[in-house]
């Protein structure tokens, strides 16, 4: 850890990310209707500054906010067969994937990375609901297995942010089989004695809830996140009655004993650091800046420019 990674790189990162001016400078809160300035909103992690409503956040933006200095490295995940069932509904499956890839700039619905949070090394994964509803196909399965394997290899905790409608229908039974498959991944972590923390974000439903997203040592949810097995409409149709207010929302699940905590996104990082460090038997996080590097340490570090010059 030194001032280059702590200070210079985040600055460079932020210059680059801020350069892309969004088309729309204002976003309307989907809950209270307040117009929110894009920078203010992203600084607040897409949580409405007025009513506290948690709007969707991309996995990358989440990771940037989570990791020290916004620095993380992607964990490589093997790529599965593109269209295992040659599935065609009104559109061909590969076309749907291409549209999602273009929209999100991601390969599939799960991003796996490694890095430090509060100077604690972890592996983390975040699911992208904007990529085909975050749906779990073989690539999402691959990402979770790769993430768990990497965590075991590095002896690090695994933190997973879930968001999905369920299994990806276009991969049929192979998507369903990611339920036991990702469960094996969770067992790898258990057997290695590593913490597995799930943060359920809006929405997490179906086969995803019924596998890795409900098997965490610690289950945290973001406020008001929909967390369910069956969809609300399906249940209403089945039982023929209206469901109570707040049904299948994070707070409702907390009340029914299905979660450990409901935590605001803006407080999530600090909480994860606290929990992870306790589970690992580490002392509390050192707040504030590390002591200035000694000269000897500074000399050891080469900036990319210097490396290139050689």
């Amino acid at each position: 850890m030194n001032w280059i990674t702590n200070y210079v790189r985040p600055r460079i990162n932020s210059i680059f990310s801020r350069r892309e001016t969004p088309d729309n400078l204002w976003t309307k809160c989907t809950e209270c209707g307040t117009m929110l300035f894009h920078r203010e909103l992203s600084d607040n992690l897409n949580v409405c500054t007025d009513c506290g409503h948690h709007m969707a956040i991309t996995p990358r933006a989440r990771m940037e906010a989570l990791f020290d200095g916004g620095i993380f490295t992607e964990v490589e995940t093997p790529e599965a067969i593109a269209d295992p069932l040659q599935f065609k509904d009104q559109k061909k499956y590969p076309e749907r994937v291409k549209i999602a890839q273009k929209k999100t700039g991601e390969k599939d619905a799960m991003l796996v990375v490694e890095g430090d949070i509060g100077r604690t090394s972890i592996v983390a994964a975040a699911q992208d609901f904007s990529f085909m509803g975050g749906s779990m196909g073989m690539n999402v399965g691959n990402a979770i297995v790769a993430g768990a394997q990497r965590a075991v290899e590095l002896k690090r905790p695994f933190v997973l942010f879930s968001a999905a409608g369920g299994a990806r229908m276009q991969e049929g039974i192979l998507a369903l089989m990611q339920m036991p498959r990702t469960t094996v991944a969770v067992q790898m972590l258990r057997e290695a004695g590593l913490p597995y923390i799930v943060v359920l974000t809006h929405p997490t439903t179906g086969g995803v809830t019924a596998s890795y997203a409900m098997l965490g040592d610690i289950q945290i949810a973001e406020p008001n996140a929909l967390i369910a097995f069956a969809g609300t409409r399906v249940i209403e149709q089945t039982i023929g009655e209206k469901l109570p207010e707040g049904f299948q929302r994070a707070e409702y699940l907390l009340d029914h004993g299905m979660l450990d905590r409901v935590t605001k996104r803006t407080e999530m990082r600090a909480e994860l650091i606290t929990i992870v460090r306790m589970l690992l038997g580490l002392p509390p996080e050192v707040m504030g800046d590390l002591p200035a590097p000694t000269e000897a340490e500074t000399e050891k570090v080469e900036t990319p420019d210097e490396t290139a010059k050689k």
Partner: protein, 320 residues
Amino acid sequence: MNNYLDFERPLAEIEGKAEELRALARRSEEMDVEDEASALDKKAAEMLVDLYKELTPWRKCQVARHPERPHCQDYINALFTDYTPLAGDRNFADDHAVMGGLARFNGRPVMVIGHEKGNDTKSRIERNFGMARPEGYRKATRLMEMADKFGLPVVTLVDTPGAYPGKGAEERGQSEAIARATEKCLQIGVPLVSVIIGEGGSGGAVAFATANSVAMLEHSIYSVISPEGCASILWKDAEKMREAAIALRLTAQDLTELGVADRIVNEPLGGAHRDRETAITAVGKEIEAMLVALENLSPKALITDRRQKYLDLGNKGLAA
């Protein structure tokens, strides 16, 4: 046989005619209709062969859901002895959609667990049409754990439209219950063999069918979503279930090609419901074969084998 599926209607007509003729002949003794009737029988038999020669995926769904198809209870009654049902999840209730308990299979003690759909209005309601609530999965988890403790092989019989989508089921953690049951399937150091006897409906089936060996009856299905559900989401029209059934690749034949199912158990001509005894015997033979194949594996090897099977399902696909 009087419960025909819609695609069997022409067959129903012919069989009906033959039946009518015979009924007529029974009333007036001088009439001899046997020639005509047996001609109709022959035609019906040919038609049955024809109808079942290549069932479309949707027709297979219909056969898999046939109300007279043998259910879990029938298999347990016929294939197991000393069946001792064990009830309850020790938390909340006993779920009648899931039956299970100790039994002997060909003499050896085992734990048998399965979904039961019921076979008349009363029992269907009692069994909740085979749709389990969290208590059902937790009961299964408890029984698997017990089997592990006492070294008993586990046999699961899968036949469910899916886990029950209800208010209480959600409140009591349907998804967690399914996840834990699946996890337990992957943890036990005893042989775990599974037969999909009818419908393998999504997560509700996975919770039981995460096994060392999975056999499927010839006309059973196993799918991530029902064809109707898939059609209403992707086609925005539940009536497109025929297309959805094709696209989903949910037949036993597709699933063996994809490596999800290991074996297919042939059904008698016209489906298991036309000759229940034959179907049940065939399933019994298959269970025996699967158990024997796993007999000499150590607990550790059994767990590794099961996990590897599912880890390998990360890059499969149909041949182009």
